[in-house]
């Protein structure tokens, strides 16, 4: 299906969405909730300057023919591999399991390898497509930093895309891996980042500003606490002792003071919902140290206790106290690395 009428400029940017990592498709699903902009606005070119895009996205793609017949969806990936798609942005959803810790089989596959007839692993697709991609966008905390499936004791050796490709990796166009964390992503955070990248790759926007953990700065520079409408209770020293209290949840397990995320401010969808602002403790799902450095989730965070007790005091003292915790939790656990050894603590049975 061509969309000539909506085209505002050439060339077509292909977006290859690979949900074949260890994930739950929650980021794909969340993106359908985005309204600023919505996916239909991006695809139909409803915003000024948007290039023509061709999105190849398993969740909602019209194409679903067999390998041997018409409209085979996976063929787009093989085209990209053969160098026949230019330019394309590779979107990765789900963490990357370590396929090197076993002698055969696969932890996850996405389509088949025509040479072997066996599933093409997600890491093999990354090896093949990364050098050819104009940009790589890692969506959700699994793809960015490993996430839930990379927790202690996991059998697959899962890690994030930057762990796999290298934190210094740059695309052929000079872009670092762009990470939009969140479990799942806040819908508009992702659609807005896609929008930014489409402007950038068509020369309409400068290099996307990213922080040390490769997150878009304007979305992740403030903490949950800074954007939480319950922070006033914190200031008053009113802390909830029960989960149904409308006051500050810090003593019940909320990690808001050290977590970089805009959800309490932006809400979850059209300004509705969120986490501590609506009664849910922040379990730090956007953070590189998620989940291990925050478990058990329902216990009081040690770092916040210091801050909470001293909540009458403000300024540099508190900020530097928090800084220590924040630097720790902004780093992944050490086992999320490549290599033939499984370091998660799980005793291999194969």
């Amino acid at each position: 299906m061509t969309q000539e009428s909506q085209a505002t400029q050439d060339p077509v940017i292909h977006i290859l969405w690979m949900n074949g990592g260890l994930g739950c498709d929650g980021d794909s699903v969340a993106l359908t909730a985005a309204t600023q902009p919505s996916i239909e606005e991006i695809v139909l070119g409803a915003l000024p300057g948007l290039p023509k895009v061709a999105v190849h996205w398993p969740l909602i793609d019209f194409e679903c023919g067999p390998e041997q017949g018409a409209d085979n969806f996976i063929e787009w990936w093989h085209k990209a591999d053969r160098g026949e798609l230019e330019p394309f942005v590779l979107v990765v959803e789900g963490s990357i399991p370590n396929e090197a810790i076993k002698s055969e089989g696969y932890w996850c596959g996405f389509g088949n390898n025509p040479a072997t007839g066996q599933p093409m692993t997600t890491s093999e697709w990354l090896d093949r497509l990364a050098p050819k991609a104009t940009a790589i966008l890692a969506v959700g905390t699994c793809a960015t930093y490993g996430g839930i499936h990379a927790m202690a004791g996991n059998p697959t050796g899962a890690m994030g895309v930057p762990d796999y490709l290298g934190w210094d990796w740059k695309s052929k166009a000079g872009l670092p891996i762009v990470c939009v964390p969140g479990c799942p992503i806040q819908p508009d955070n992702l659609s807005e980042t896609i929008l930014y990248l489409l402007y950038q790759v068509t020369g309409q926007a400068p290099m996307i500003p990213l922080d040390d953990a490769l997150r878009p700065r304007w979305l992740f520079e403030a903490t949950v606490h800074q954007g939480c409408d319950r922070a006033g209770y914190y200031e008053e020293g009113t802390f909830a002792g029960e989960y149904d209290s409308p006051t500050c949840l810090v003593k019940l397990g909320c990690w808001g003071p050290v977590v970089k995320c805009n959800v309490p401010k932006r809400g979850w969808i059209n300004g509705v919902g969120g986490c501590p602002n609506v009664g849910g403790i922040c379990i730090a799902c956007t953070m590189p140290g998620f989940p291990d450095k925050f478990m058990p989730f329902m216990d009081e965070p040690p770092g916040s206790r210091v801050s909470a007790t001293a909540s009458g005091m403000y300024g540099s003292v508190i900020r530097s106290l928090r800084g220590i915790t924040a630097r720790t939790v902004d780093k992944e656990p050490k086992w999320r690395v490549k290599g033939t050894e499984l370091r998660t603590g799980y005793q291999k049975t194969w």
Partner: protein, 603 residues
């Protein structure tokens, strides 16, 4: 033989007539599913089908040793479209383990969140994912004659939904350009707002806890929910008759379409939406409070209700490995030998399961999937129950049991009546879902009826939500705003939780030792539906349903899309990282030229 009758035999020498067809990954579902088939194009039938799941994450492994209170936060991440169903099931499971009973208001809030999830999820799947299989563009590419006929067929309920012909309905479902397609996408957002009002975030909730919810219950909360709900009720008054027209037309236009995706009626429903007046989360009373659920639990075999007891359901669950990449646990320790009522618990029950992965090459004669084979043992056979994507099993069990009757919904023993109040521009309306039968009067579980039930269940969920809103508001107006109850985690316990994920049966089983998780095994619907051939050679439901599917598509093998097979598979609302392949004889790989400027994402 517990499955449907055998697929047409693949006698030696006839293989040359079979064509391999492979779909991997299947689009417009959640997760990665591969379907591998062999098709007899002369006989226009699928001869053989294997379904495969190409992902392993290991939840039951990495949850060991963790704090039991983390269970719902972790298990929500199993699924990206119904994660909240997992969180809910896990919270139910934990409530049983900790012996805590949430305040009624907390339960009504969970019910409102879960109802919104049904309203959202069935809507987006039906209209934006499966609906595309019935849109004008798809029908034009697979059965041009059918489209011609659709354009000439007046829609019987045109006055209710506004589309003059069936062709107009099909056009409205066209991805992106279709007006109804875009409207449904917007409805999927407003229903998710309803969800977020109650559970904080979609799809991994922030406000659910064992003991209740952290949601702050105010008049405003329920007003915000109710206004959106009434718009949805108005929407459904158009959608139910529109889908009835579309699905009825498919039977008329393609005689024999009843057989697409048909399998023996083997349906499971674990019940959902607890009634806080009765549900005390004890195992001892589970059969009783289970029967008070707003969707009745039940197992339906050949159209007959076998049980409505959650205790029977629990004890009958068996996990077989069959052709999956795992090692058996026959020699491992048993965690639970008897349930709290003294009934023996089988070694193959989830309480006693050990998950031992053994990655291997995919070999359809040996091991070929990461999906195990859950079965339900009725004392004689290991039944490969399916959920039909959820709604058909829920409506069927509820209809036969005759236990639900709260005004907005009434079960009659043979049907379910859904009574919707007046909305802005439409009068009071009653819809009645009747147990489907074929022309010979036999109970019918097939692709079209799974889809039809989905639409009716959207209305059912809305009707439930109306009742829950009334109950919740009554609590708030009476000054009862407590939504959470405290609890202690015991050192030793075992427990279970049951609910209906959007796509069907969901169970969580936990064993606590030393205050930590010693064993945790969740069983969502897709392992049931997408299971592989089990130890006894019985195929899983997708495999079984596809193997019996006749081919109506007019395309030759070279430009074959496999739409009938895709309709059969998608009717189950597949939702797991898994895959399905089709086998079109000769193993010939076709290279079809695609325009590089094509926008394949029609959304």
């Amino acid at each position: 033989m517990t499955a449907t009758e055998k697929a047409p035999s693949k006698a030696a020498g006839k293989d040359s007539q079979l064509t391999e067809m492979t779909w991997d990954p299947i689009t417009r579902i959640v997760g990665s599913l591969g379907i591998y088939t062999k098709i007899d194009f002369k006989a226009k039938r699928v001869a053989e089908c294997h379904s495969t799941s190409s992902i392993f994450r290991g939840y039951s492994i990495f949850m060991k040793g963790k704090d039991p209170r983390d269970a719902h936060f972790i298990t929500s991440r199993i699924c990206g479209i119904c994660g909240d169903n997992h969180a809910t099931c896990s919270v139910y499971n934990q409530n049983m383990a900790y012996g805590v009973r949430p305040p009624h208001l907390g339960e009504w809030i969970i019910n409102l969140g879960e109802s919104a999830e049904y309203m959202f999820d069935h809507n987006i799947f039906q209209e934006n994912l499966v609906g595309v299989d019935y849109c004008e563009r798809m029908v034009a590419e697979t059965n041009p004659g059918v489209l011609e006929r659709a354009n000439a067929t007046e829609a019987p309920h045109a006055a209710d939904h506004g589309y003059r012909t069936i062709g107009d309905i099909m056009r409205s479902l066209n991805p992106l350009e279709g007006e109804f397609y875009r409207e449904a996408l917007q409805v999927s957002r407003s229903t998710r707002e309803m969800f977020c009002l109650m559970e904080g975030r979609h799809v991994h909730p922030s406000t659910l806890y064992p003991g209740g919810v952290g949601t702050v219950a105010t008049v405003q909360l329920f007003t915000d929910y109710l206004t959106r709900l009434m718009r949805y009720v108005e929407f459904m008054k158009r959608v139910v008759p529109m889908h009835d027209d579309l699905f009825d037309f498919m039977y008329e236009a393609l005689p024999g379409y009843e057989e697409v995706g048909r399998r023996r009626v083997l349906l499971g429903c674990w019940g959902s939406l607890n009634n806080p007046e009765y549900c005390d989360f004890t195992y001892q009373n589970m059969a009783d409070w289970g029967r008070k659920m707003f969707v009745t639990p039940g197992v339906v075999v050949d159209g007959k209700l076998v049980t409505t007891s959650l205790v029977d359901i629990n004890l009958g669950i068996r996990i077989l490995l069959g052709h999956s990449y795992y090692e058996d646990w026959e020699d491992k320790e048993m965690f639970v030998t008897h349930d709290p009522l003294g009934n023996p618990v089988d070694r193959r029950h989830p309480w006693n399961q050990h998950t031992i992965p053994r990655p291997a090459k995919r070999d359809f004669d040996d091991k070929y999937s990461w999906t195990m084979s859950p079965r339900w043992f009725d004392g004689k056979d290991y039944l490969p129950l399916d959920t039909g994507g959820g709604p058909i099993a829920r409506l069927w069990a509820t209809a036969l049991a005759g236990l639900v009757d709260f005004g907005y919904v009434k079960s009659t023993g043979h049907s379910v009546q859904i009574n919707l109040p007046r909305t802005m521009s439409r009068p009071e309306t009653t819809f009645e879902w009747k147990i489907p039968v074929d022309k010979a009067g036999q109970p019918l579980s097939n692709a079209i009826e799974r889809n039809r039930a989905r639409t009716y269940f959207q209305a059912y969920a809305a009707a439930c939500a109306l009742y829950f809103t009334e109950q919740a508001l009554a609590e708030v107006r009476a000054g009862h705003t407590k939504t959470w109850e405290s609890f202690k985690v015991p050192d030793e316990a075992f427990s279970c939780g049951f609910t209906e994920a959007v796509r069907g049966v969901l169970s969580h089983h936990m064993v606590i030792r030393g205050g930590k998780i010693a064993n945790y095994h969740p069983y969502p619907p897709t392992p049931w539906n997408g299971s592989v051939r089990d130890t006894y050679g019985t195929p899983g439901p997708y495999e079984d349903a596809v193997q019996n599917t006749p081919i109506f598509e007019e395309n030759a093998p070279d430009n074959f899309k496999g739409i009938d097979i895709m309709r059969a598979v998608r009717s189950f609302d597949p939702c797991l990282p898994c895959g399905v392949h089709m086998y079109l004889g000769g193993g010939r790989v076709l290279k079809t030229a695609h325009s590089p400027t094509g926008i394949t994402l029609a959304v």
